[in-house]
C-alpha cells in the first residue's frame, strides 16, 4: 500500500523547549494508525503541525517535512489542510448548539438554489436547498453506519450523537482521505464507544485513513492496524496492533520497564507501610462533581505520617479527590478523619479539622494576586485558627497584627528561598515557582495534620521543583504530618511517596508501592487492569 501521508523527521521546539524530534511514520489509505503517549508526549503538537495551526507558525515553524500523496506539502492555514482532504475531530466539540445535525454537518458548505438574484449579486444571498442538504447529510451519516436524526438540534443530543455529528461533518467533504480523531471516545459511554469503533472500521474499509489518538489502550489495540508510541517528543516504537498487548504498549508509553527481580519483598513491606500507625484518613464511596475531573467511587486509606501519592492521566478524576474532600467541589461519601466522620462540602469544617490543601490552580484558588506575600501566607491561619490577631477591648474586636504576619512571611521567605523584593511584594508579580512556594507556606502556616498537595510542581522550574519536594519531605518528617500528593508526573510521585494510587475514570484502579515496575503503573493508567491479571495490587 502506498502511503498517502508521511511524516519525515518532524521536530518542533517552543522557545528552545524541544517537544518533538525526528518523528517519522507513514499512513496508508484505509489504514488506522493509533497514536499513543502520555500527556505532553507530543501527540497534539504533531497534529497541530499537520494542520499548520497558527501557533506553529507564530513560534517559528517546524523541522522536517510532510508528504501528502507522495509530494511534500506545506499548508499555510488549517483551511489548506481541509481542502487537501484531511479532516480533524477535536477533543472538544466544535458544534453550534442551536443548529440541527444537517446544518452543523454542512456548515458553510450548504447546497444552494440558483436564482436571478444570485447571478446578479453573489451566492451570499441565495436560498438554501434544504432537500439536497438533508440528502447529503444522510449520506454522510450512513457512511458511519449509525442513525442520527438530521433535524435534531445539537443541544438536545446525547454526547455520543454529537461525536458522530462531528465525524459526519468531516466525512461529508467529498475528497476527504484522512481523518484525525483526538480522544473521540473520552466522552462516550462504553456502548457508544463500541459503535464508534465499528463505524471507524467501516470507514477504513472504504479506503479512508484514520489517525486515532486515545488513552484507552484497549480500544487502540482492538481498532488499529498500526500503533505509534510517542514519549517525550520522540517516536519510541511503531508496532502492528495485532499481537501486541496493552501491557507492552503501556510500558512503552511510560518508559523502560525497570528491573523487577527481587523487589517484590521490598514492595510488600512498603505496602504494609507503618501498619502500626493508626489510620489518619479513610475515604469510602467518595464522589465528586468537579468539571472535567469527575470522581465516581473512590476508596482509600492513609496512615498517619505517610506520604501517599495519587496519580493518573489528566481528566480521570485524580484532581477531584482533594477538591471534593476539601469542600471546593460538590461531593459526597464517607470520609473519616482519625476515625471520626468528616463533614463534606465545607472548606471551613475541613480546615478546622486540621486539613490543608495546596491547590493545583495556583492563580485561581491558591493566591490573592493583588495582595502581598504576608497576607497570602497568614490569611488562612488567621481566619481559621485566630493566629496573628490581638484581642482589643477584652476580645470584643480582633485586631490584625501586621507585624506578626510580616515576621511569619519573612520566616518562610528564608526557609523556602522565595525570591522577592520583600514580604509585602504583590504575589501576582512573583514567578510561578515562587508563587507555588507561597502556596506551600500558606498551608504550612496552618500546621495541618493532613496536607493535600495537588500538582505541586506544575509549571515551575527545576530548581523550585526540588525545593518544593524537599520541603514536603521535611515537613512530613519533622511534624509527622500525613501528606497526600496528587500529581500527573509519575516519576515525581515515585520519588517521594511510598504508595501510589492510580485513578482511572473516577475510580482507583489500583494502589502500587513506589518500587513497582513502571509498566504496571502504565497498565493501571490506561485502565487495562482487568485484561492483564497481574496489575491490580489493590488494597481495596
Amino acid at each position: 500500500m502506498d502511503a498517502i501521508l508521511s511524516f519525515r523527521d518532524i521536530g518542533k521546539q517552543f522557545y528552545g523547549n524541544r517537544v518533538l524530534s525526528g518523528v517519522s511514520f507513514d499512513v496508508a489509505a484505509g489504514q488506522i494508525i493509533g497514536l499513543v503517549g502520555e500527556n505532553g508526549a507530543g501527540k497534539s503538537t504533531l497534529m497541530k503541525i499537520l494542520f499548520s495551526m497558527p501557533e506553529i507558525h507564530e513560534t517559528g515553524g517546524y523541522e522536517g517535512s510532510i508528504l501528502w500523496n507522495g509530494s511534500e506539502v506545506k499548508f499555510k492555514t488549517p483551511f489548506d489542510a481541509l481542502d487537501a482532504g484531511i479532516g480533524m475531530v477535536h477533543q472538544e466539540f466544535s458544534l453550534i448548539p442551536g443548529f440541527t445535525t444537517t446544518e452543523n454537518i454542512l456548515l458553510n458548505r450548504e447546497s444552494l438554489h440558483r436564482s436571478v438574484l444570485t447571478d446578479i449579486f453573489s451566492t451570499r444571498i441565495s436560498m438554501l436547498d434544504r432537500e439536497n442538504m438533508a440528502l447529503r447529510s444522510k449520506k454522510a451519516i450512513a457512511k458511519l453506519g449509525v442513525t442520527l436524526d438530521p433535524n435534531m438540534l445539537i443541544k438536545e443530543m446525547p454526547v455520543g450523537h454529537k461525536q458522530f455529528t462531528e465525524i459526519a461533518r468531516e466525512l461529508c467533504r467529498d475528497k476527504v482521505k484522512l481523518i484525525v480523531l483526538d480522544e473521540p471516545s473520552a466522552v462516550l459511554t462504553e456502548s457508544e464507544a463500541e459503535v464508534l469503533l465499528s463505524s471507524l472500521r467501516l470507514l477504513a474499509n472504504e479506503g479512508i485513513a484514520i489517525i486515532f489518538i486515545s488513552h484507552r489502550l484497549r480500544e487502540i489495540v482492538d481498532l488499529c492496524d498500526q500503533i505509534v508510541v510517542l514519549r517525550d517528543g520522540q517516536k519510541i516504537s511503531e508496532l502492528p496492533a495485532k499481537g501486541s498487548s496493552v501491557k507492552t504498549i503501556a510500558s512503552l508509553m511510560v518508559g523502560r520497564s525497570v528491573e523487577t527481580q527481587g523487589q517484590t519483598d521490598v514492595a510488600d513491606t512498603y505496602m504494609n507501610y507503618g501498619s502500626s500507625e493508626p489510620i489518619a484518613l479513610s475515604v469510602e464511596q467518595l464522589w465528586v462533581d468537579m468539571p472535567g475531573e469527575t470522581v465516581r467511587n473512590v476508596a482509600f486509606s492513609v496512615r498517619k505520617g505517610e506520604i501517599f501519592g495519587i496519580g493518573g492521566l489528566a481528566g480521570q478524576g485524580k484532581l477531584g479527590i482533594p477538591n471534593g474532600i476539601m469542600g471546593l467541589s460538590p461531593s459526597g461519601g464517607n470520609v473519616k478523619l482519625h476515625g471520626k466522620p468528616m463533614q463534606l462540602g465545607s472548606p471551613y469544617a475541613a480546615l478546622k479539622r486540621g486539613l490543608a490543601f495546596v491547590s493545583e490552580d495556583r492563580r485561581g484558588v491558591g493566591l490573592l494576586l493583588d495582595e502581598g506575600i504576608d497576607w497570602n501566607i497568614a490569611f488562612s491561619a488567621m481566619q481559621i485558627q485566630n493566629k496573628f490577631l490581638k484581642p482589643l477591648l477584652g476580645g470584643l474586636f480582633q485586631w490584625r497584627s501586621d507585624r506578626e504576619m510580616l515576621n511569619l512571611a519573612n520566616e518562610y521567605i528564608k526557609l523556602l528561598e522565595i525570591k522577592c523584593t520583600g514580604a509585602r511584594q504583590r504575589v501576582g508579580n512573583l514567578s510561578g515557582g515562587n508563587q507555588q512556594k507561597v502556596c506551600l507556606a500558606k498551608a504550612f502556616a496552618l500546621r495541618p495534620d493532613i496536607l493535600f498537595v495537588s500538582e505541586p510542581t506544575r509549571g515551575i522550574d527545576v530548581g523550585a521543583k526540588l525545593v518544593v519536594l524537599e520541603t514536603l519531605k521535611k515537613y512530613n518528617s519533622e511534624y509527622g504530618a500525613t501528606i497526600i500528593m496528587i500529581s500527573s508526573e509519575l516519576e515525581e510521585l515515585r520519588s517521594i511517596c511510598k504508595r501510589i494510587a492510580i485513578v482511572y475514570e473516577g475510580r482507583i484502579e489500583g494502589i502500587l508501592p513506589h518500587t513497582a515496575p513502571l509498566d504496571e503503573f502504565g497498565v493501571l493508567m490506561a485502565g487495562a487492569k482487568s485484561e492483564t491479571q497481574q496489575g491490580g495490587r489493590s488494597e481495596n
Partner: protein
Amino acid sequence: MEQIKRFLSDFGLPRIIIAVFLLALFMMAPAVGVNVPDALKDVFNRFGMNGILVLALIPMIQAGCGLNFGLPLGIIAGLLGATISIEMGYVGAYGFFFAILTALSFGSFFGLAYGALLNRVKGGEMMIATYVGLSSVMLMQIGWLALPYKSAVMIYGFSGEGLRPTISVDGFWRNILDNFMSIKIYDIFDNMVVTISDFWAYIPGIKWYGKIPGNDIGKWLYEPKLIFAFPTGTILLFLFVALIVWAFFHMKTGTAMTAVGSNPIYARAAGINVNRMRTISVMLSTMLGAMGIIVYQQSFGFIQLYDGPLYMAFPAIAAILIGGARVNKASLPNVFTGVILYQGILVMTPLIFNAMLKLDMSDVIRIIVSQGMILYALTRKTKVLK
C-alpha cells in the same frame, strides 16, 4: 529621584494632572476677581458634606461587589431617618443623632435585602445595583406621598398630607456639625478676628480674647464680615467615620472581606463564607450612605425627597474613582484625594469661567464639569489588574 518616581507612580498621573489643574484655577482666581477665601470655604464645606457618602463606597468595593450604584437605597434610609426625627419634633444635637440612629437601622435592613439580591447576581452587581437605586427611588415616590407624616413643616400645605419635595432643616439641626468648633475668620472694623465656635476669639496683634461679650457676633449692632469658615465638626465626624472604616479593615472580618474582594475562590478555599462577607459589606455601605446623607443635609440645609437620591450616587463614585480607586480595591487616601479634587474642580471651574466670561452660566458649567468628570472617572475603572 527614586522617591519622586515612586510617589508619582503611586499617586498616579491622572491625579497629578487634576491637582495641577485645580492649583492653576486657584492661582488664576485673584486675577479674574474671584474671592479665594470664599472659594476655599466652599471646597472645605463640600469636602465635609460629601466625605461620608464617598466613604460608603469602600466596603462594597473591597468585598468585590463593585461600585455601589445602588447608593440611593442607603440615601432613602437616611431620608427616612431625617424625616422621622423631624416628625417626632426632636431638635438640635438630639434630633440630629436620633436621625442618624434611625437611618442606620433602616440602612441595615435595606442593606440585608440588597445584599441578598446582589449575592444572586454575582458578576453583574453594578448593573443590578443601578436598577436597585432607580427602582427604590421610584417606589419611594409613592412612599413619600403615602406615609402618614403629620408634621406641618414637612407636608403639603393644601392637602395636609404627603411630604414636600424640599424640607428645610432650619430650626432642627441645620449646620449643627458645621458650627461645632468651627473656625471662622471675621473682618471687624478692618481687624482680622479668628474665632473658634464663635466663642474664643483671637485678634492678631492684640491678644487672646476670652469670651466675646454677648457670645454671639451676629447679634452685634455692627455686622462683622465673615471672610472664611472651616466646618470643623463636619470634617471631624468624617474623619472619625473614616477611622472606624480603617479600623474595620484591620480586624479579622475586614481582612476576610478584603480577601473576598481580591479573590473570592481563595477566600472560599480558606473557609470564608463569601456570601456572608458580601452581605456585610453591602449593609455597611448602605448604612454609611444613610448616615452620609444626613451629614450632607445638615450642611446643605434641606432634605431633598423624591428624585433627590438619584443624583447622589454618581458624584460619589466619580470622586472615589478620581481618587484612584479600582473596581475591587479602594483605600482611604483614594477617598480623601478624590473628594478634594472632585469637589475642588466642581467649585472652582464655574467660578473662574463665570468671572472670565462675565456671564452667569455657573449651573450649565457645573453640570458640564461634573458630568464630564464622572465620564472621565468611569473610563478609569477599566484599570483593574487581573
